[in-house]
Point group: D2
Chain length 353, copies 4
C-alpha cells in the first residue's frame, strides 16, 4: 500500500509502497477515507527539537487523525464489523494502570500515540485496536469524522471533568486560534456561553475566529494592544470565567491568567517548550485560580459529547468552515508548506495517491 | 396605590386602593413595570387545598414575578440607586441558617416568598430587600425581565449544582410543558444538548414545545402511546441522560424514570400533592439513578446564568414566544380564566390599572 | 472439586463434586482461600420471590465474595501471575456499552454477577476474568480480603461519585445495620464524620453498631421511639447531612428522608421488593434532597479507596470485628441458619470441605 | 484598653493604651480570650518587603486569629448575644460582588483583613461584623478556638471545593510543615488518607510532623536527598494523589508537582514572593495536573468542617500539640523571637497584659 513514511531522523518524509498491516486478535483493519494534519505531524515533518527527542523509532508512518471504513476484523472483535465507519481515538492505552482503572484512561501511564510511537494513518490502510475505533454515523462527511479527534481536544479543554461548572451564560476566553482554538470558540458558543473572546495574531485565523462566532477577537501584536485591560473592560471589570490557553506562547498564558475572574479556571493545552514564569501569588493563589493541564480527550466521555454536538446541523456547518483546504494525500508536502505559511486552518487529506 | 388583594380565605381576589409600602433600611422601593402570573398565583386565586394550608394571613397582595424601576432606597442600601431597573428574586432568606451559610441560600430554613408569606408584587409599587433586587440591563423588555424568575427555575432544574455534568451532546427529556417546561426545552437546546424530547397533552403547549426547539414531543394521552418505549427507541436503547419532571403528574414521573439511562439524573420540580409510588429497586437502585429535588433558583449563580443567556439575541427571541399574552393588570381575572382554559403559556401583566 | 451447588429451582443447596473450571484466554484460575456469605446468597438459598425471578439457570454454584490465590492464567493475561493473591469484583461487564465507556462500568447494561448469572465461588477453585481479579497484599487476612466486596458497597454508598461533597465534620445516618450498614458506620467515622447515627432493631447488630463507632444507635421498634425527632434534636434541628439507607425497609427510608437537612443526600442500597410511597413534595422537592441509587462499587475507584482504608491498622481491626463467625465451608447449611437467626453479622467461610 | 500597635512604617510594634472600639449596627464587641500569631503577623512585625507594600495605614493594631466572648452587640445584630463565645473569620467581605453572590465570598473582590487592612485583635477588645463572628462551643479551649482560622486554611487546601474528590484511601503530600502544614497532616489522616508524607527541613517541625501522624517525613536539605524519587518509590511508582504546597519555596513546588500522579491535584497556599518557573509541559499538561490557588477559607463551609472535626476528641488532642507555646500578650516581642528562632509551631497569646 501507499503510505507517508519518515525514513530517517531528519526533516521531511516520503511516499512509499509498504506492506499492508495485519490486524491482531482485538484489532480492526481500516481503509482510510480521510485524514487530516495535526500540529504534531508538522513538528515531526519539520523534525523540530520536540520531535527529535520524542520520536523513538524510524521508519514510521505519519499521522493520527482518521476516518475510515472497517475492511477486516480480528477474531476477538465483538463490537465492530466489516463496513462500519470509524474514527480513531489516537491514544493506545494499557487498560491496567491506576489511571486506566480510575476513569482516566486518557492519561494512561503507558500511552502510545499513532504516528508518534507506532505506525500512523497517513496510508491507504491502518490497523486500530477495537477499543480505539469510534463508530461513526456512515452519513457523516469523512473529513469531519477525522477532525473529531482535535474537536475532542477542544471540548475536553472546555469541560475537563465530568463534574465541572457549566458554561451557561459564562464568559470564555480562547488564547490562540490554531485549529483547536477555533474549534473551542465554536464549541463554547454552542454550549451556551454568553460571550467568547479570542486572541490571535494571524489575519487568516482572526477572520476564522469571527466566523466561529467569537464576540471579540484581540490581536496582542497590534500597536498599543492591552488585551487584559480590554477584556476586563468588556466584562465590566469582572474578568472571564473560563480561559483555554491554546497558543503555547508565554504571552497567551499571561493574558489568560490576567483576564481571569477570581475563582475562574484556565485549561492549558498549548505546549511551551521551555519553563514558564508565573507570578503564582498574584495570578493563582490570591485569586484562587484553578489550572487544568489538558492531554488528549476523555475516553470516551468526550467522544460522546463530540458526536452529540456534530448531530446538530448548524454546528456541523461551522466545523466544515474550519477545514480550509482539502488536498490529495499525494500533495502532502504542499499541504505542509501551506500550514507553514499560516494561510490554512485545518487541512484535510483525501485518499488520492 | 392599586393592588390585587386576597381579602378573604376563599377563591378570587380584588383590585383595591391600598397604602403605598415604605422601604426599610436595607430595602428598595420599586415602581412595577411588568409582572407575570405563576402557577402558584393561580392556586392562590383558586384557593385550592395547597393554598388553604400554605397561606397564613390575609389580606395579602398577590404575585411575585416582577420587573421594575427603583424609585426609593433605604439608608443602608449600597449597591442600588434610583433609576436602576431590577427584577425580584422571590425568596427572602435569613442569611444565617446552615443552608444560607453554606452556599444554599435558596433553601434557607426560614424562607419567605412574596405573594405567599408576605405582600407580593401585583401592585403599582413593591418593596424588596436589596439582596432580592436583581439589577437588569435597562434595555431588556420588562416582560422578559419579569420571567427571569421562572426561567431561573428551568435553568436550575437542568443544572442543579455548580459541579454537575454538562449537557454537551446529551439527550434531555422534559416531562410537562407548562411555562417552566417550555423554558427548559429552550435552555437545554441552548446549552448544547443533542436532542431534547418533551411530553405534553395540551395542544397549545405541544405547539409551543416544538417552537422552543424540541426534537420530539410525545403526547402520553394519545391512544396507543408508549412514551418510554418511544424514547428508548429514539435513543437506540440508551435512554435519556437528563430528565426534568415539570408535570407534577405521576405519569410524568414514571416516564422520566423509565426513560432514563443507567446513571442518569432526574430533577423534580413539579409538585405531586400526594404520595408518589416508586419502584425504587427497578427505577432508582439497580440503574443508579440520581434524583434532585428542585426548589427556587440558586442565589445567585442561576441569575448570572439567566442574565448571560438572555444576552444572546436568538435566545431572547425564543423567550418572547413563551409570553403568549400581555394583558393590563386590571384584567387579571380574565388572565386567570385564560390560564385555566389551557390556552396560554406565560401571561404577562402590564401596569395599566 | 467440591462446590456448593443449587441443583433445583427450590430452597437449599448441596455440596457436590463437580469438574474443575478452565480459564479462558483472559481469565485466571484461583484457589479459594476464603469466601463469605452475602444477603444475596441467603435469598438464593431460601429461594425467595426475588431469587425465583432473578436466577435464570440451575445447576449453579453459589457465592461471590472471595479471596484466593492465582494458580493458573490464560494466555492473554498480562497483569497477574501464578502466586498472586486476589479478590473478586463480582460484576462481569461488557466493556463496550455507553455506561462502560463513560466511567460507569459498575452499571454496565449487560452485567453478569457471580453466583447469580454464572457459576460462583463457593468452591475449591474459581475462574475470573483478569479484569475482575483485584490484586491484594499477600499479607492481608483472606477473610478480610473477601469482604472488600461488601466494604466497597459501603464506601460507594457514602461516596457515590468522584466529585461529591466530603464527610469532613458532617453528620451521617445509617439506617439498617446489616453487614454493609455496619461497614458504613466504620467507614464514615474513618472519613472524618463528626457524628454517625444508626438505626437498627436487632440487639446483636445494635451492639456491633456501637463497636463500629456509632455515636448513637436508635431502635425504631422501641416503644415510644421517634427516631426522626431524636435525630433532629441531636443535630440542633439541622438534620443529618448524609444518609445511607441499608435496611430496605419503608420505615428506614422515611427516617432517612425525614432526618435529612435541606440539600442533603441519601444513598439507597437496601432493596424494597415493592413500590415505596414517598411524599416527594415535602421530602424531596421543597428540601432539595438528592437521592442516589447505589449498585455495586465503582470499577475500580472504590477498590482503591477500600485498599487504602484497609492499609490503616485501626480500620483493619474494626473490620475484623464484623466477621462474627468463621466456619468451614462444609458447614454452610449451619452458617445459613446462623444468619437467619439474626445472631451473626458477617460469616466467613474457610476452605475446609 | 491595651493593644499591640504598629505605630510607624518600620520593624516592631508597641503595647499601648488605646480607646476601646465601638460596635456598629451589625457588629459585635468581643473581649479577647485568646489569640495566636500567624506568619502574616510576623511579616508585619519584621516589616518585610511584602508588609511594606501591603500595609496601607499606620497606626494599626496587629493580629487576626482570635477567640473571645461577646460583651456588646449592635442594634441590628440578630444571631448573637452577650455571653456567646466566638472566633473570627478574618476576611471582611462586601457581600455584593460577583464572587460573593456566587458562593465564593472568601475571594471577594473587595476583601479586607483584620490586622492588615483594619485594626486587628491583639488587644483587650475587638469589634467584628456579625457575619465574621463564628459561634463556638463555650467549652472549647480558647487557644484551640483561635486556631480554627489557620485550621480552616488547612482544611480548605485539602478540600478546595464542595465537590472535589475525597481523600479516602488516597496518598497525600504536604510540602512545608509550618503550622498550617502541620495542621494539614493531621486533617488528611483524619479524613481517611492511607498515607500522608511531608517535607520539612526544620528539626522541631519534623518532630511535630511525625506527631501529627505523618507516615513519612523527608528532609530535602539532607545530603543525598531525592524526595521525588523517594515518594515515587513509596507509592510503587504511582505518585501522590493530592499535594498541598505550604512552603512557599520553589523547591517545595517542584517536589509537589514532581511527585504527583497523573491527574492528581496540588493546592498552593505558600506564597513565593517572586515568579515561579514551571515546566508546564512536563509537570502540568502531559500529566493533566490540576492546580488550585488557595486563599482563606470557604465562608462558611470550611468553618462547619472545622467545627465538626474539633468535636472529635482525638483530633482535638492533636491540635493541642501544635500549640507549642502559650505566652502572655505582654511578652509578644519574645514570642516573635521564638518564632524567628524556628523553635515554635503555633504560639498562643493569653490576655495577660
Amino acid at each position: 500500500m501507499q503510505a507517508v513514511v519518515k525514513t530517517e531522523r531528519g526533516p521531511g518524509g516520503q511516499i512509499l509502497e509498504v506492506p499492508e498491516p495485519t490486524p491482531g486478535h482485538s484489532d480492526v483493519l481500516v481503509a482510510v477515507r480521510a485524514s487530516s494534519i495535526c500540529g504534531t505531524d508538522l513538528h515531526i515533518w519539520e523534525w523540530n527539537a520536540w520531535a527529535q527527542s520524542r520520536v523513538k523509532k524510524v521508519p514510521m508512518i505519519f499521522g493520527h487523525e482518521l476516518s475510515g471504513e472497517v475492511i477486516g476484523v480480528g477474531d476477538q472483535v465483538t463490537g465492530l464489523k466489516i463496513g462500519d465507519h470509524v474514527s480513531a481515538e489516537t491514544h493506545i492505552v494499557d487498560g491496567t494502570c491506576y489511571q486506566c482503572r480510575t476513569g482516566k484512561m486518557h492519561i494512561c501511564r503507558n500511552v502510545e500515540v499513532f504516528g508518534v510511537d507506532r505506525d500512523g494513518v497517513f496510508a491507504e490502510y491502518a490497523v486500530l485496536p477495537e477499543l480505539n475505533a469510534w463508530k461513526n454515523d456512515p452519513k457523516l462527511d469523512p473529513a469531519l469524522a477525522a477532525i473529531q479527534e482535535p474537536l475532542g481536544n477542544a471540548v475536553h479543554s472546555l469541560l475537563p471533568e465530568d463534574n465541572i461548572e457549566d458554561l451557561a451564560g459564562k464568559t470564555v476566553l480562547v488564547t490562540g486560534c490554531g485549529p483547536i482554538g477555533l474549534l473551542a470558540i465554536a464549541v463554547a458558543k454552542t454550549l451556551g456561553a454568553e460571550k467568547v473572546y479570542a486572541t490571535e495574531v494571524n489575519p487568516v485565523r482572526i477572520a476564522l475566529a469571527w466566523k466561529m462566532g467569537a464576540d471579540g477577537v484581540l490581536n496582542p501584536a497590534e500597536s498599543g494592544a492591552t488585551p487584559v485591560a480590554t477584556l476586563l473592560e468588556e466584562t465590566d471589570g469582572r474578568g472571564v470565567d473560563v480561559a483555554v490557553e491554546m497558543s503555547g506562547h508565554p504571552g497567551g498564558l499571561q493574558i489568560a491568567l490576567g483576564a481571569l475572574t477570581p475563582g475562574g479556571r484556565v485549561s492549558l493545552l498549548g505546549l511551551y517548550d521551555s519553563d514558564a514564569k508565573i507570578d503564582l501569588d498574584a495570578r493563582v493563589i490570591f485569586p484562587a485560580a484553578r489550572i487544568y493541564g489538558i492531554f488528549g480527550r476523555r475516553m470516551f466521555q468526550t467522544w460522546f459529547q463530540v458526536k452529540g454536538l456534530l448531530a446538530r446541523p448548524e454546528f456541523r456547518s461551522k466545523m466544515a468552515e474550519i477545514i480550509t483546504h482539502r488536498v490529495p494525500m499525494r500533495d502532502l508536502p504542499k499541504a505542509m508548506e501551506l500550514l507553514q505559511s499560516g494561510k490554512a486552518a485545518k487541512v484535510s487529506l483525501e485518499p488520492r495517491w
